[in-house]
Amino acid sequence: MTAPDDLERAVEATLFAAEQPLSEQEISTHLQGADVAASLSALKCTYAHRGVHLVERGGRWHFQTAPDLAHLLRREKEEPKRLSRAATEALAIIAYHEPVSRAEIEAIRGVQTAKGTLDVLLEAGWVCIAGRREVPGRPTIYATTPGFLTHFGLQSRRDLPGIEELRAAGLLDPVDEAFAVLTGGDDEDTDAIDPPDEESADRTD
């Protein structure tokens, strides 16, 4: 670039260091009353093709990042995070039963589903809102996305193993103590007349 004159350099530095946009008058005052109009035009021209532009907004001048590069100022950093158990279950229910409403998910899970749980699935791009069910209250219904199939390496939803297959794979009979405790309430009425030592055996059927 051609060497700018001293006034242009001074205007450039003044605007660079300014903490807020400056009017032509303010710049001039800062520089012993010099006429800075020509310098401003020259600078605007000089910077027009650069990564930084000199712009005038409401009579005040400032440097800003070129609009086409604005996206550079924000960078996304991805942090791997494990999907929570609740979210995984909700996702499984949506996949097997879609489209389903939140109430239906809760009915199947037997547990309330926090709002954030579905948000996580929407954010992950595995689930989308598939409209509303035409019943009273018109609840939102959810379905899986093509991204879901891609991520989980499924050709289509028909690839989801059926209940019998899950059982055969041993996935339906997890001996899960945590769940036994959580759902212990269900068989309370049978436990009542059980001798205490039989209680634990009761849970496994």
């Binding site: 260091a17 924000r74 991805e78 158990r85 595995w126 899950l166």
Partner: protein
């Protein structure tokens, strides 16, 4: 000796400028007493006034000046910190060594002591000059300025959710497992229904003539769960029969055996 350098004069973080622009008159020098950062600082200032290179300076002259200075300060009744006096005593000793005929027995030689003092002054002088040059550089916020209103670079953290297909199937399996037992348990447990118990107890009651323990009405075989169920059903059946006036129930004590017999002919049932 640690406490000798105790900062009696250090509490004021004297401004550099006060020294750099020090007046040259001797009177001013004495008044600046509080400005010295210890005896070495004073020595360096005295040396600087000689306007010769520290490498060629006469330590003897310097020592004399220091001692004069201390004497005059005393005469002016200025309070001197202990370390100035300690230094004065040491320098007086050094001066005497330097002036006396050389005694080869004295180790180290006074010249070596003088050299050491000179080396120390050189080092302090070098650092003082370096500090001044450092401060005179184009410093950010004084001579050069950073951008006044940077837009800032933002890093948005985005969660990259992780879940594999097995976890998905396991989750569905877990849900199915969790919701299954409700149906399952009722179907699979061996039970005696109330109707069955009623039939069984009334039939057996017709045969037995005397008080009979309720437990005698239970099937002899069957698993413990079946026996429990039969006991409960038979008890309810007994109550029902008593209500209908077809049987009598008696129990001698709490948790004792429950005795049962058929009513002969009276229409009214009685529970004891």
């Amino acid at each position: 000796m640690d406490d000798l350098a105790e900062p009696a004069l250090l509490d004021d973080e004297a401004e550099w400028g006060g020294i750099a622009s020090a007046q040259t008159g001797d009177a001013a020098l004495y008044l600046e007493l509080d400005g010295w950062e210890g005896p070495l600082d004073l020595l360096l200032e005295l040396a600087r006034r000689q306007k010769v290179d520290l490498r060629t300076i006469s330590i003897l002259d310097l020592v004399s000046q220091y001692l004069d200075y201390i004497e005059q300060a005393k005469a002016l009744k200025l309070e001197l910190a202990a370390d100035y006096l300690v230094m004065a005593a040491w320098l007086a000793y050094l001066k005497s060594l330097l002036l006396l005929p050389r005694d080869p027995e004295v180790q180290p030689s006074p010249e070596e002591l003088a050299l050491k003092l000179q080396l120390r002054l050189q080092r302090l002088g070098a650092m003082r000059e370096a500090g001044a040059r450092l401060m005179a550089r184009d410093r950010v916020g004084r001579e050069v300025f950073l951008r006044g209103q940077p837009e800032g670079l933002r890093v948005d953290r985005k969660a990259l959710w992780k879940c594999d297909v097995l976890a998905l199937f396991q989750a569905y399996g877990a849900i199915k497992h969790r919701t299954r037992p409700v149906v399952h348990m009722v179907r699979e447990r061996a039970v005696m229904t109330l109707d069955a118990a009623l039939t069984r107890v009334s039939q057996m009651l017709g045969v037995a003539m005397d008080w009979t323990d309720l437990r005698a009405f239970l099937p002899l075989d069957g698993d413990p769960a079946m026996r429990k169920s039969a006991l409960a059903s038979s008890f309810v059946a007994a109550l029902e029969l008593a209500k209908q006036g077809k049987a009598e129930i008696a129990q001698d004590q709490a948790f004792g055996p429950l005795m049962l017999r058929a009513c002969a002919s009276t229409g009214a049932g009685r529970a004891a």
